[in-house]
């Protein structure tokens, strides 16, 4: 390759223009005329293209124009065809799987009357029948001992009704399942029938194949991009729905088998919680299918009706409408997934994770095409956070920060519910019970996180809560409230390291530095003052110590003093300055009348 520097280029241009000097006058005039005519042809002719006399020039311009467009369209067409083919390969398996799961051929046996369910149900029913005798004895004893909660007057009628109903539990469950299935199948008929979602997709592909070469390159690019995106997203969504519908069968069977036990738990107030849990799960798993089917139906409807391109079209709108033809159903499918999971049926989260995992595996198998989509390769939280930032999808799921805002809202609702429990020793005992109870649903987990926050506010957060603090912080429980009451719980809280930008455990020194002196004595829980690290860092901070001297309550002062003198050694070696401060503190504890506790 020949390289020119600037001066060489200037010289070349000069030489070109000076070469005209060598031409004779006639030749120069001829060249000038040719240039003027050619220039006019290029600039004026396109505006007067309708004039019949200019057909020849029109043909030449059109030829060049079409030739350029054809090359560009061809290149885009080839690239898009390859991309669409790859993405289509990804969508085939989930589509077939979903089609199969939704078809009547998948599982033809009834939800309540098949060998597996009936045998399991009979075992549980017999076991529960034995339980009735124990329940009767329990009620008798409670009546004799005058334990009002379990007295015969209250519990015996329920026991008798339940003893009857247990034998009809498959029928009761069957009615509810059938009701949900009728609604669900109404929507699914549209999805798996003649005008199914994949039939519509196929039609759209064929259309693109046929019209693709003649279209505008920009329109082609937009349409191709939309189809690739739609394929990738729908492959994940279909996979999730397929897993969900599969899980629905199995879980409903298990719930029907366990129904006698759940009915039995309805008798005593002690076990009523198990009944409500079973009932909630049963209803949620019945109707999760309805929600999923409804959104699948909507997406299919949008694809088949082609709503956007049917409107008034112009050259500019056509390109965008091509994009929207796929984007709108895609958004509906995503909303459908979130709507189905927001029902918070137990185990639905695992189904979603399994589908995501399968998607990840499929992505790896197909050359890593799917790996580039965050929703596939990450778990729920990371996926949602990333999706929020995607321009069109992000808006559909609430935009940036929606995931966090959603969690905060859930946390707020849970906190409000817990705060209704009175701030009395018994009330706080009840809240503490909620922390130690197993959290099976998302709601339970939020209630537990809220319980931790409320107890911290009430300065009654015990060591029992420690192991649930990381979970509470993840669910947006206020970390500040927790560490203000219990700075000794700092190692169980997480923060983002300012240097590495990665999460790490907090330290007592760090949280003590964050607490304002006036907040310290007000919010600190007595138990935290039994921690030598907390006492050490409080003693080192003169402002905190002065506030404590002036305002802290006697019991807390006593605890502080005891810990101060019983601490085996400081948490870290002391500097000379710190040694002087500690000496000063011993003097203060001696000569301040406020510390004579």
């Amino acid at each position: 390759m020949v390289c020119y520097n600037k001066s060489m280029l200037v010289q070349k241009i000069k030489n070109f223009f000076f070469s005209f000097k060598r031409l004779n006058k006639k030749s120069a005039i001829f060249l000038l005329l040719i240039s003027v005519v050619f220039g006019l042809t290029l600039f004026i002719l396109p505006t007067n293209i309708a004039y019949a006399g200019w057909d020849f020039w029109n043909d030449i311009i059109d030829f060049f124009k079409n030739f350029g467009e054809s090359i560009l369209s061809g290149m885009i067409g080839v690239i898009m065809t390859v991309l669409i083919a790859v993405s289509q390969l990804l969508v085939i398996l989930p589509t077939l799987l979903l089609n199969w799961v939704l078809s009547p051929h998948f599982i033809s046996v009834s939800f309540t009357h098949n060998d597996f369910v009936l045998q399991g149900w009979q075992i549980v029913r017999d076991f529960v029948n034995m339980g009735f005798i124990i329940a009767l004895v329990f009620i008798a004893l409670s009546t004799a001992l005058r334990i009002r909660e379990f007295e015969a007057k209250k519990t015996l009628p329920v026991l008798l009704i339940i003893a009857l109903l247990i034998n009809f539990s498959p029928v009761i469950c069957g009615v509810i399942i059938d009701a949900s299935n009728i609604v669900m199948n109404h929507f699914l008929k549209g999805v798996v029938g003649e005008d199914s979602i994949w039939e519509n997709l196929g039609e759209q592909y064929t259309k693109l194949w046929e019209e693709g070469w003649s279209e505008d390159p920009a329109k082609m690019l937009a349409k191709g991009f939309a189809i690739v995106m739609f394929n990738l997203v729908s492959s994940i969504v279909f996979l999730i729905f397929a897993f969900l519908f599969m899980a629905r069968y199995v879980i409903l069977w298990l719930l029907v088998i366990l129904s006698p036990l759940a009915f039995f738990c309805r008798i005593l107030p002690l076990t009523k919680r198990i009944w409500s849990m079973w009932w909630n799960q049963f209803i949620q798993w019945c109707f999760i299918g309805v929600v999923a089917a409804f959104f699948l139906y909507l997406a299919q409807l949008l694809l088949s009706k082609n709503i956007v391109s049917e409107g008034p079209s112009s050259e500019e709108i056509e390109g965008i409408s091509a994009l929207f033809t796929y984007m709108v159903p895609m958004v509906v499918l995503i909303v459908g997934v979130f709507a189905s999971f927001s029902i918070s049926a137990m185990g639905a989260g695992y189904v979603r994770k399994a589908a995501m995992g399968a998607g990840k595996w499929a992505g790896r198998m197909s050359g890593g095409a799917v790996r580039r989509i965050p929703a596939v390769s990450r778990a729920e939280e990371a996926a949602r956070r990333k999706l929020e930032r995607v321009p069109v999808l992000g808006r559909a799921i609430g935009g940036p920060g929606a995931y966090e805002a959603g969690r905060k809202a859930k946390m707020e609702t849970a906190t409000k519910a817990i705060e209704k429990i009175p701030d009395t020793p018994q009330g706080n005992k009840d809240i503490l019970k909620r922390i130690s109870q197993p959290a099976l649903t998302e709601k339970d987990r939020y209630a537990r996180a809220a319980a931790i926050e409320v107890l911290a506010k009430r300065k009654d957060l015990t060591d029992k809560a420690v192991k649930f603090i990381p979970e509470a912080q993840k669910l947006e429980a206020n970390a500040k409230t927790i560490y203000q009451a219990r700075p000794d719980f700092a190692p169980h809280l997480t923060t983002i390291d300012s240097v590495t930008k990665k999460p790490r455990a907090m330290t007592t020194e760090e949280v003590m530095g964050k607490i304002e002196p006036a907040e310290f004595y007000r919010n600190i829980q007595k138990e935290a003052l039994g921690n030598s690290d907390v006492v050490f860092y409080a003693a080192l901070d003169e402002r905190k110590f002065n506030q404590m001297t002036r305002h802290m309550k006697v019991e807390q002062k006593r605890e502080f003093k005891n810990t101060f003198f019983s601490a085996p050694a400081p948490p870290r070696p002391l500097t000379k300055k710190e040694q002087a401060i500690m000496k000063r503190r011993i003097k203060d504890l001696s000569t301040s009348p406020e510390w004579q506790v």
């Binding site: 706080n428 009654d460 006697v554 019991e555 019983s566 001696s590 301040s592 004579q596």
Partner: protein, 160 residues
């Protein structure tokens, strides 16, 4: 968990700011500071791991410091357990100083601290004796006969 009552005996109890420093100044004047400083060093050395003192011993050392004794007197006065008049005698006995020094010290404390303290109740009876032990012996009510003397005790055997 039972909620404890954290309230002090005297909710209005506020000592003038820097009471501790005033006590230190007075102690320095009467030559107690060096002795106290030595004891404080002992506690500090134990904190740094230079020597080993049990927590109980550390508290004992603290309790025996001259500064702690004066601060406790202030607290007792504020709580209404002792009167102002009894303070010179307490100082004399506890710090082992002369009557004159005790009176002077009391005067200084009175000027700089006591005047600002509003005790819970005023003790009229002057303090005369230092209590030997802090543990209070509970006083039991005298057992009275249930049956009044004018009524006849039907269950009592007649004395022959």
């Amino acid at each position: 968990m039972e909620k404890e009552n954290f309230e002090t005996k005297n909710p209005e109890l506020i000592f003038p700011e820097g009471s501790g420093l005033v006590i230190e100044e007075i102690l320095e004047k009467y030559g107690f500071n060096s002795a106290d400083a030595k004891e404080i060093d002992k506690i500090m050395d134990s904190m740094l791991g230079i020597n080993r003192i049990s927590p109980e011993e550390k508290i004992k050392i603290l309790e025996n410091l001259a500064g702690t004794k004066i601060a406790r007197l202030l607290k007792e006065y504020a709580d209404g357990n002792i009167s102002l008049e009894s303070i010179p005698l307490r100082l004399e006995k506890e710090l082992n100083i002369t009557k004159k020094d005790a009176a002077q010290m009391t005067e200084e404390l009175k000027e700089r601290i006591f005047v600002f303290i509003k005790p819970i109740k005023k003790i009229e009876v002057p303090f005369t004796e230092i209590p030997q032990t802090k543990t209070e012996i509970p006083t039991f009510p005298t057992v009275k006969p249930r049956i009044s003397p004018d009524k006849k005790d039907t269950y009592r055997e007649p004395i022959e």
